[in-house]
Symmetry: C2
DNA sequence: TTGCTCCTCACGTCACGTGAGGTGGC
DNA sequence: TTGCTCCTCACGTCACGTGAGGTGGC
């Protein structure tokens, strides 16, 4: 048999621990169709994840935690990405330059949209941090007054 | 009757619209004890909010949205703040310098804790933004190649 | 063989959403 | 008086949490 370099695979518990979620969360996301369908798994058999699956799951968690998106809107985003992945398959089979451009053009707005959301979040976080530092400064000024007086 | 400068007050709908939440959310937070008890309101009467109430509510929403805290842990934080507010009442009645210092010392760790959480969030957001910009750059490089070739 | 992790239901919970039916203030 | 917003239940929903009971791989 051919002894090709086998990619490492993980079970659900290891993935959950690594990403800081529970196994229930991962199963729920699978239920919603957020992860690749894993169509060849027999009922009752253990779930198996590769590095690419884990990266994808982490992407989902980022969108949820950092941007506060609902799972429904993440599904929408993922479907758009999936359509892109489908195009990417064609890519391997020598598409024309015209095709390649279309594929690249389809990817860009998705990333730009996410960048926009991230930037908005960064701004509100900066405002929050600034407010906290002001409060802290006022408190520390008060203290130094008492230290000087006492 | 004395014609003292009345502070503006708002009804729940106006507050909700201003903060971008529903009225249900505000009522739910009141139920959990997250807002000042509003003990003098008669059953069935309209809720009334002042600027300070709105600021407090916005603080709660920040902790929820930007830091992803559960309402339960926000309750804990709010209780600590409340204890501080209780101390603050004494403040008005001429506390000793020693008392003042204790009050100031109690406030600081709360703010420092929040600042810590905000900073962590900012770092993860920066990582996310960097990753997105890398992807974007790769895509744009690909496109300029096609533009040059086509 | 013994643990340990995994599996599938399935009900519980948190943070609200969404009417139903009724009352109050410009 | 007429809308409009408010009120209080109370059941529904989203995103999981938490066992119950059973099977599979180092």
């Amino acid at each position: 048999m051919t002894e090709q370099a086998q990619e490492r695979s993980f079970r659900i518990g290891a993935v959950a621990a690594r990403l800081g979620v529970t196994t229930r969360t991962i199963r729920y996301y699978e239920e919603l169709g957020l992860l690749g369908s894993d169509s060849q798994r027999c009922k009752g058999a253990h779930r198996v994840y590769r590095e690419s699956d884990i990266a994808h799951l982490q992407e989902v968690l980022r969108l949820r935690d950092l941007l506060g998106l609902s799972l429904e809107s993440i599904v929408d985003l993922a479907e758009a990405e999936e359509a892109r992945a489908a195009l990417r398959l064609e890519w391997e089979h020598g598409p024309s330059d015209e095709d390649r451009r279309r594929i690249v053009d389809a990817a860009e707005p998705l990333i730009l949209r996410q960048l926009e959301l991230v930037t908005t979040r960064q701004k509100t976080l900066n405002t929050f941090a600034r407010d906290l530092r002001r409060r802290l400064k006022r408190i520390q000024e008060l203290r130094s007054e008492y230290d000087a007086a006492g």
